[in-house]
């Protein structure tokens, strides 16, 4: 891309819009749109509640003596995985808005503005991240009910982990949604990706119990480190797979990689009438 130093005399506001302001305004729009669609607001707040109500009462009676994760109650074991699942679905599905924006023509007007593609990716992804992370954090309300109590520092670290997972997954959603022109195709691809990603993250069953090749897959699944990081924070007395710092480092790398992927997808210029 050309340097943007050349000033054009005919124009009054020729300085570049930069990245921050466009990204901020796209993020803001994502939140306003969310807030104006009441059903989405209800969905985000109510789905963790419903999820936990069903899960809690179901597990509470069925697996009373369950010791799937060593000495831990299964419902406790499952808690971090449930939180990640909520974040996973919300993150990726918020990026359905990329397809909607394209269909509604809104995206075109952003693409002809003097805005770097990185700002478009950043704004949309941060918008989705905010919504997904907020939903994940709503789920934290239930932590005390299964006997998890944590201090302020731990809370901040939980927020960090949830944010990183949301960001990486939203960016993944963006990269998948960008070239697509229909939401049903998006659904199909997402189901192909999401369910295995989640199943193999240690959310349902621990790595230690898995057979060889499954364990290998679980080790390279970045989501494993999200679940692991949360488990580390919420159950500090239970020995973890890897230290918190390496989980967080992995999530940072995962986020950067996914953002890079989303940026790469959005930055391809085309000679085809694709946009």
């Amino acid at each position: 891309m050309a340097t943007q130093t050349a000033s054009l005399p005919t124009h009054t506001s020729s300085e570049s819009a930069g990245i921050v302001l466009p990204a901020f305004t796209l993020w803001w729009r994502e939140l306003v749109r969310f807030y104006r669609q009441r059903t989405r607001v209800i969905g985000v707040i109510a789905s963790p509640l419903v999820f936990w109500a069903v899960l809690g009462s179901g597990f509470g009676t069925s697996f009373r003596a369950g010791d799937a994760a060593g000495q831990q109650h299964y419902l406790d074991y499952f808690y971090p995985g449930a939180l990640i699942m909520i974040v996973l679905f919300t993150s990726i599905f918020t990026m359905m808005s990329v397809i909607e924006d394209r269909k509604e023509g809104f995206l075109l007007s952003v693409m002809v503005a003097p805005v770097p593609r990185s700002a478009i990716v950043l704004g949309k992804v941060l918008g989705g991240t905010t919504l997904a992370a907020a939903q994940g954090l709503i789920f934290l309300i239930f932590a005390p009910f299964i006997g998890i109590h944590f201090g302020f520092t731990t809370f901040l670290l939980v927020v960090l982990v949830v944010f990183l997972v949301s960001f990486a997954l939203t960016a993944l959603g963006f990269a998948i949604a960008w070239p697509m022109d229909s939401t049903s195709a998006f659904h199909a691809i997402i189901n192909l990706f999401l369910i295995p990603l989640w199943l193999l993250s240690g959310a349902l069953f621990p790595l230690s119990g898995a057979s060889g090749w499954i364990r290998g897959l679980m080790h390279i699944n970045p989501l494993t480190y999200g679940v692991e990081g949360l488990r580390n924070l919420l159950f500090p007395e239970t020995p973890g797979l890897s230290p918190l710092s390496s989980s967080i480092a992995t999530l940072v790398l995962f986020s950067l990689f996914m953002f890079g992927l989303a940026f790469f997808m959005a930055n391809r210029r085309t000679t085809k009438p694709a946009a």
Binding site: T10, S13, A17, G18, E104, F106, P114, T271
Partner: protein, 299 residues
């Protein structure tokens, strides 16, 4: 696209006329930096749309055929968002939004959601979006699609104001002859090729005299051949009709009808229109049958 070359002058209302599939939209996408041409280049204010898209983007305001305003935002919020994309902010942006919304006649609907607006009002927000950052060139793709006649008239009147008062170069694509007539200059496209370029008047004048259209009773090809040899003009066959151009058409038709008794169902003579220019240059109608049906269902 093949061999399409033209210039748009400062403060000019320039039209791109062509039937569906003629390459208007492709050209529009190239000019608005959304597409990179395979060959050739497009310059906007001296900048190459493929090599310096960021420079071009700051100079152009774009109004797409499809709606690009956000239904879930108010008119004000849409423009606030748009202004940020162009690096405008704060009090200056606020002033500009108020000013531009007043210009397009929406001063009293500023705080209402766009989803409550009529088609014409939404299009005015669209126009305000395109003009917010004071572009030197305004590109509009079929801007009157879906508007009622009153709203169409308003829009065209406003484009002229922009040209005259703000000295903006306006490029409009259209498939409507009556809209093309209102442009200062026109490029007519067909199947990706430039078929004519000039003012509407120049283009119409290149047709020698009047346009005569005969509806044949029998074989139109045979009738066309005999007319060609008798009057020494080029006659073309359009469906059941034979079309040719001659001066003093009103006199010619009486001799034609007398010369070919029982072969002509109906006769018409008319001053050349832009559609005649199109037929003259391409040898076929602006609307083929499929196009015409699509248009009718659109209406």
């Amino acid at each position: 696209m093949d061999g399409v070359s033209f210039d748009v002058r400062p403060a000019e209302l320039f039209g791109l006329l062509g039937p569906n599939g003629s390459g208007k939209t492709t050209l529009f996408r190239i000019l608005s930096t959304l597409m990179v041409p395979n060959a050739g280049r497009a310059l906007v204010v001296g900048r190459d749309t493929a090599k310096e898209p960021a420079c071009v983007r700051r100079q152009i305001g774009v109004v797409f055929q499809a709606q690009s305003v956000d239904q879930k935002l108010t008119a004000y919020e849409n423009l606030w968002h748009q202004g940020h994309l162009y690096g405008l902010r704060g009090a200056a942006l606020q002033r500009r939004i108020t000013e531009i919304l007043a210009r397009v006649g929406l001063a009293d609907r500023v705080k209402e959601l766009v989803e409550t607006f009529s088609g014409g009002m939404a299009r005015r927000v669209e126009l305000a979006k395109g003009l917010l950052h004071n572009p030197t060139v305004l590109l509009l793709d079929e801007p009157t699609t879906g508007l009622d006649p009153g709203a169409r008239r308003d829009l065209w009147a406003y484009l002229k104001v922009l040209r005259d008062e703000e000295r903006i170069s306006v490029l409009v694509t259209t498939h409507l002859m009556e809209e093309a007539e209102r442009c200062d200059r026109l490029a007519i496209l067909n199947e990706g090729k430039l078929v004519a370029l000039g003012t509407p008047l120049e283009l119409r004048q290149e047709i020698g005299g009047d346009v005569i259209l005969l509806e044949a009773i029998g074989d139109p090809m045979a009738l066309a051949e005999r007319i060609q040899s008798r009057y020494n003009v080029a006659a073309s066959v359009l469906g059941r009709h034979v079309r040719f151009e001659m001066e003093n058409g009103h006199r010619v038709i009486t001799t034609v009808v007398e010369a070919f008794p029982g072969e002509i169902q109906a006769v018409s003579v008319s001053k050349p229109t832009l559609e005649d220019v199109f037929i003259h240059r391409t040898g076929h109608r602006f609307w083929n049958q499929a196009n015409a049906e699509a248009l009718n269902s659109e209406r």
